[in-house]
Structures are given as C-alpha cells and as structure tokens.
C-alpha cells in the first residue's frame, strides 16, 4: 500500500472503514403486510384492553368450565368448600356459649328461652339475629328487643317489656293490655292487679288510650269507679261501685265526665238516688232516678198538683 506523505490519521480511518459492508445486498427490514396489520391492531385500545383483561378472563372461565363440567369435580369442590367453612365456623372464637337476657322479668325470660330455637353452644354464623329478634318480639310481653353477639361468646338479648296499663275483661276471661292496647298477658285473678283500671266490653281493647284519658279525668271520684264499659263499640260507660252509670258521649267523653265530676262536687249528685247520669247529649244531661226517688217525685207532684194524674 503506497502512500504519498505520511498521513496516518486518514490512513487509519480509511484502512478499517473503507470496506463497504453494503456491497452485499442489504436486508430490508420491512414488515410484511400482515405483520404491519397485526401491529396496528395491537395498538387499538380495544384490542389492548381485550388482551389485558378479556383474554385472561376468558381463559380462566374456560378452564373453570372444563373442570366443573365433571360432576365428581363439582361435588369435590362443594364438599371441600363446605368442610372449610364448617371448620372456620366451629372455631372457638366464633362459638356462642351463653345467652344473657336483660330487662325481662323471670316469666318473660323463661318464655324467651322457650321460643328461641337455639341449642347452645352454637356457631355465631348459624345465628340469624334478625329472625330471632322477630321471634322474641312476637312474644306479647315484649315490646322491643335487641340481640347482639358480644365478646366472651355471649348472646346478649336486651328486652323492653310491655307495661300493663289496664285489665280488660271479656267473654273468655281477663287479660292485661298496655297503653297502646296491645295484649301483655292473660290474668286469672283481677285482684292480682288492683292498681290497674278495669275495662270491659267489645272493642274496649282497641281504645285503651281513650279509656286511660277517661280514667284520668275520673280521678276525683276514683274511689267509687268500678270500671269502664265500652258500649256498642263506640262509647264509654263509667260504672261506679254502687252500680250507678255515667253514660259518656261518643265525642269528647273526657269533657262530659269532667262536667259530671263538677256536678257531683256541686250538688253531690252521685250520692243521691240516681241510677244513671246520661251525658250522651251534651246539651241535655239527663238523670235516671232510682225507684225510691221516682216514688218521691210522684208523691210531691200529687201534693203540688192535686192528684190530677
């Protein structure tokens, strides 16, 4: 290799680079038509989402479908699942051993234990607290109840009992009713509840609130009141221990009774020979006289008018 002049720089450059690799036909890196189309398809957002989410889901569903197509596998899976579930549920942490009832009398508590279909110990997973609450509240003596599984494997039942307000006497016997008119319990003996007023008559149990208002209004003569009787399922009669009746109107019975009380205080009407005070027509209070008084009136009239009648 001849070189005119010493030009090592240029020579060094030429000697190793002037061999053109391109004299061989260069490979063309062009994508084929289908490779190009596939590449463009892969850049579609829909296709990308499909590959990322749809395809794995499809494959998983396919595998699961093939596996569960055989009934053996299905049964095996279900059995394994149930066993695992049972194992978890019967762990001591989830067991309920004790039932505690608060706010209930002994009889009510006994009734609650009677109606609740729970055999302790039981897993808390098997307890349907809502259904149990409804069962407990279906007892007459229970107004509301709340159930909760507490720490210490405890089933806590908080009960608010119904408070009896009246004794209702009817054909078959007597029962206690609370102020809303709801049945509390049956009673054998009225004297077991001497502090509760007595009401009677058909339909009386539905109007306990009104009855209580009437009884409150009758407080000044409370020692004489025997009870209230619902007449014709529309109005009240106050029955006194002497057998006298105060017949109250359908509307505003309390006002009418207050009038009678005032009348009694002014004229001592109830201590006279009066069978009944009829207040049903508010503009015309009427008094039904007893037998002796009627006789006396007749005699007085004879004297005054000279036996015309």
């Amino acid at each position: 290799m001849q070189q005119i002049g010493k030009r090592p720089i240029l020579r060094a450059r030429t000697s190793n680079t002037a061999q053109p690799e391109a004299s061989a036909p260069r490979r063309d890196p062009a994508p084929s038509k289908w490779a190009y189309r596939y590449h463009r398809l892969r850049l579609r957002p829909g296709y990308r989402n499909f590959v990322r989410l749809g395809l794995p889901l499809c494959v998983a569903a396919l595998v699961a479908g093939i596996y569960f197509a055989q009934s053996d596998n299905r049964a095996k899976t279900v059995a394994a699942w149930q066993q695992a579930r049972a194992q978890l549920e019967t762990r001591p942490e989830f067991m309920v051993n004790v039932m505690a009832i608060d706010g209930a009398s002994d009889a009510t508590a006994a009734a609650i234990r009677e109606v609740l279909p729970v055999d302790l110990p039981v897993s808390s997973f098997d307890l349907d607290l809502e259904a149990m609450r409804q069962t407990v509240e279906s007892l007459d003596a229970v107004k509301t109840a709340s159930l909760a599984v507490r720490t210490g494997n405890l089933l806590q039942i908080d009960v608010y009992e119904r408070v009896p307000a009246v004794v209702w006497r009817h054909h078959e016997g007597m029962e206690l009713r609370d102020d809303a008119g709801h049945r509390v319990a049956a009673v054998e003996d009225r004297n077991a509840y001497p502090h509760l007023p007595l009401i009677a008559g058909m339909g009386a149990q539905d109007q306990v609130a009104e009855a209580l208002q009437v009884i409150a209004a009758a407080a000044p003569i409370a020692d004489r009141v025997q009870g209230l009787v619902r007449m014709g399922e529309r109005r009240w009669d106050v029955v006194l221990q002497t057998g006298q009746r105060i017949m109250l109107p359908v509307d505003a019975p309390v006002t009418a009774l207050e009038r009678v009380v005032i009348l009694d205080r002014a004229q001592d009407i109830l201590n006279r020979d009066v069978m009944a005070v009829d207040m049903r027509l508010s503009y015309r209070p009427t008094v039904r006289l007893g037998e002796a008084a009627r006789e006396d009136i007749r005699k007085i009239n004879e004297i005054e008018f000279g036996g015309q009648r």
């Binding site: 290799m1 030429t14 002037a18 994508p31 463009r40």
Partner: protein, 443 residues
C-alpha cells in the same frame, strides 16, 4: 375551474377528523429516505378561527414518534415500484407508531418530483352587498380562469396568495371589508396525475387514510425559511436525493415552485462511475470525504476505495480526495446552475429580497455555501428545519426540512381553493342540464 376537487375536499375532511382525534402522521416520501413523524395535537391551543396561535401554531402539536427508513422504489421523487414503496411506508409508519405507542390512521404526504409547474391566476368580481363575505371569496376564486394544465396533470395546490379590494392590494383576509370590486391572485401548482394516483394507492394499501398532499418544495420552504424570509421574499432550494425542488415565498405565501430532476443520487452515481466502485461505496465516499473545493492538501489525501472481489489489485485501489472532489463538483455546479436557470425563469431577480436558502440532504456537502454563492448570488445561507416540540436531535438535519415543514403544514394549513364553497349560482345550470339528460336517457 369547474372540477369538483372531490379528493382534496375528502382529504380536508380527513384532516379535520384527524385533528379531532388528536393524532396525525406526516410522511415524506423522498428518493433516498422515507421519514414518518407522528404528531399529537393537545388541543390546548386548538385550531380556532381566531387567527394563528402563538408560535404560528407550532406549539399546538408535539412530535411523539419518528422513524426514517431507506426509500425503495422511488426515483426522482416519484414512485416507480409500488410494492417496494409500500414496504418502505409500512416500515416507517410501523416504527413511528411503535415509538409513539399509538395507532395512526391519517397521514399527510409530501413528495418532491412529478414535474411541478406553477401558474399565477387572477380573478375579479363585483361585490353585490358592498361588503366582502365568504361567498364572495368563493366567487372570486371561482372566477379565476383555469389555464390549460394539460392532459394527465393534476392540481396539487391552489392557494389564494393575495386579495385586492378596489385599489388596495396585499390583503390577507378581506372578509368583512367594504369595497366594490374584489380581486385575487391564485397560485396554482400542478403535477403529473399518475404520481398522485400512485401515492394515493400506496397509502391506501397501507390501511392509512390520506389527509393531505403537499409538495416537498412547499413544505421545506415552510420549515427552512424563517418568518422574515417568508415575508420579504426568499427562495428555498431543497436538494434532495433524486430531485432538487425550488420554491419561492413572499408575503408568507408560496408563489412559485419548480424542480430540477437532479440531486444527490446523481453525484453518487457520478462517483460510482468515475471511480468504478459500487453505489453504496460511492455514497459512503461522498458523505465521508466529499466536498466541492479542492485544496493542495486534498491531493495528498489518499482514500482507500476498497472492495471484496478477491482481486488484490482491484481491491487495493486508491484515489485522492481531489479526484473525488473533481468528480463531485461539476455535478453540483450543474444542479445549482439549473436551479439558477429556474429562478431566472421565474423572475426571481425582481423580488425585493433575494435570499436563497439551501436545505435538503445534499446541501450538507462541505463547502457548498461558497460554491452556491458564486452561482446563485450573495444571499445564500444553509437552512435547517425549524425546531418543533419533541423532535429528536437525529432528525433536525437539513434532510428533514420537508418532513418538519409538513408537520407545520398539518398544524396550520394554508387555505386552498377547495376550502371555500363553490358559489351556488354555478350549480343550477349544470344540475338542470344533468337532470334533463337523465330524463332523456331514461324515457
């Protein structure tokens, strides 16, 4: 000008759809390389009707994918082998899509060959209302009489470059102004129709939708000329591989375009023939040792020509660098002389400013600026494309002027003839005639 320009209107619609979507590709099909940029329009700036945004709309987009590949089947800027060109487009588009990680459906294409020819047209119309409306613009554009562009030619650009209202000229947008007579100057650029057909076909076969066509001369002028040069008048000479395209700008509009069907590839083939080396070797010698000014030192720079024929005598040949320059220089001079002749024919010397900007891959020959200023005049400079957002360093060379200009074109397209509504009074006569013919044919 009764052609409906259906294709151009369809491309405009496609471009609007692409901008709506926010992603568009620009593809420069050159003789030596095919470049593809994927642009993303953020829509922050938007393409509002309220004039041009900041930085002439360049800030509204970002280049997110770039790929370049060797062109195949293209010579003189025209497609000669469809299948090969299609593969080149596929390569470039796929690589740039991969870089952008997004799919591109719309593409704007530029090409340099196809014998562009410029026509200057003018039209004149009386205003009916005394105020210029959109319809008046459409009417005045329709009044431009169409020259005989010849058979097998197609209109590539038809840009209104100037509007004049009565005695006032140089209006960019006369809408809303009062006057009696509206005149316009229209720059019409026609190219060979088969070239456009081939490009449309190639793009279609790549599953892409054509959203625009531009002349490479126009788009490289957009990016290589600075704003003042575009405003005051300048010529951009884009020396590509197979053709050297010339565009003249004034008042921010291209007013003339032409192409010399010679470029860097001819220099390479001269070297290959003169030194009897394969073309790839000649290309390599040109880019490594090429030049246009020989000095005394170059006589002593011996270049190893190489070869692997096995013949020791043949493979160990040497040539001095002066020889190489001696082969290259006449061809480069010829190209520049030819460009000079085209500029003279266009009347470039009458422009107020005679700036000439050389760009394109072949303009990177060392010493070209000295040679060019001797042939073209004193106001010659080397041009590089404008920097746009996200453009990698590797594609900021002068060879990418056309592609970058195409990106600017996509961001801020020039109004063309077909963007205005054809006046309605042109329709009825024709459609009545057509209806009458239909009746005659069917009864």
């Amino acid at each position: 000008m009764s052609q409906p320009y259906a294709m151009q209107r369809a491309m405009r619609t496609a471009r609007k759809a692409a901008l709506q979507k926010g992603v568009i590709a620009v593809l420069d099909i050159g003789t030596s390389k095919t470049a593809c940029f994927v642009l993303r329009f953020d829509g922050s700036e938007g393409l509002s009707s309220e004039g041009i945004g900041s930085l002439a709309g360049q800030s509204s987009f970002r280049v997110i994918g770039v790929a370049t590949t060797r062109s195949r089947g293209v010579s003189f800027g025209e497609i000669t082998t469809m299948a090969e060109t299609e593969r080149a487009i596929r390569t470039a588009v796929q690589a740039s899509q991969k870089m952008a990680e997004t799919r591109v459906d719309h593409v704007i294409v530029s090409f340099s060959g196809a014998n562009p020819r410029s026509y200057g047209l003018d039209g004149k119309v009386e205003l009916e209302t005394g105020v210029v409306t959109d319809a008046d613009i459409g009417r005045v554009l329709a009044m431009c009489d169409e020259p005989d562009i010849g058979a097998g030619r197609e209109v590539l650009h038809a840009q209104p470059v100037n509007f004049a209202l009565d005695y006032r000229s140089g209006l960019a947008d006369p809408r809303g102004q009062a006057g009696q007579e509206l005149m316009t100057d229209l720059h019409l650029l026609t190219v060979d129709a088969p070239v456009i057909q081939n490009i449309v076909q190639c793009v279609k076969r790549c599953d892409l939708e054509l959203a625009g066509l531009a002349s490479a001369a126009y788009s490289s002028g957009l990016s290589a000329l600075i704003e003042d040069e575009q405003e005051l008048g300048a010529a951009c000479i884009d020396m590509g591989g197979g053709s050297t395209s010339i565009s003249i700008f004034i008042k921010k509009h291209m007013i003339y375009s032409d192409a010399v069907r010679m470029g860097g590839d001819h220099v390479t083939s001269d070297i290959a023939m003169g030194l009897r080396v394969p073309t790839p070797t000649a290309e390599r010698l040109k880019t490594y040792y090429g030049g246009v000014h020989a000095t005394g030192m170059d006589d002593r720079d011996m270049i190893q020509l190489g070869g692997d024929t096995g013949d020791w005598e043949l493979d160990s040949r040497q040539a001095s660098r002066a020889e190489l320059i001696g082969i290259m220089r006449p061809r480069v001079e010829e190209i520049l002389e030819e460009a000079r002749a085209r500029l003279d024919a266009a009347g470039f010397e009458h422009l107020p400013s005679q700036k000439i900007v050389l760009t394109g891959g072949a303009s990177q020959i060392p010493g070209l600026d000295g040679l060019a200023s001797r042939i073209l005049g004193q106001h010659v400079r080397m041009g590089r494309p404008l920097r746009v957002q996200g453009l990698p360093q590797a594609v900021t060379g002068p060879a990418f002027s056309s592609a970058v200009g195409l990106a600017l074109f996509a961001a801020n397209p020039q109004d063309e003839w077909w963007d205005f509504d054809v006046p309605t009074e042109m329709y009825p006569a024709r459609s009545l005639k057509r209806a009458f013919r239909w009746f005659k044919d069917n009864w």
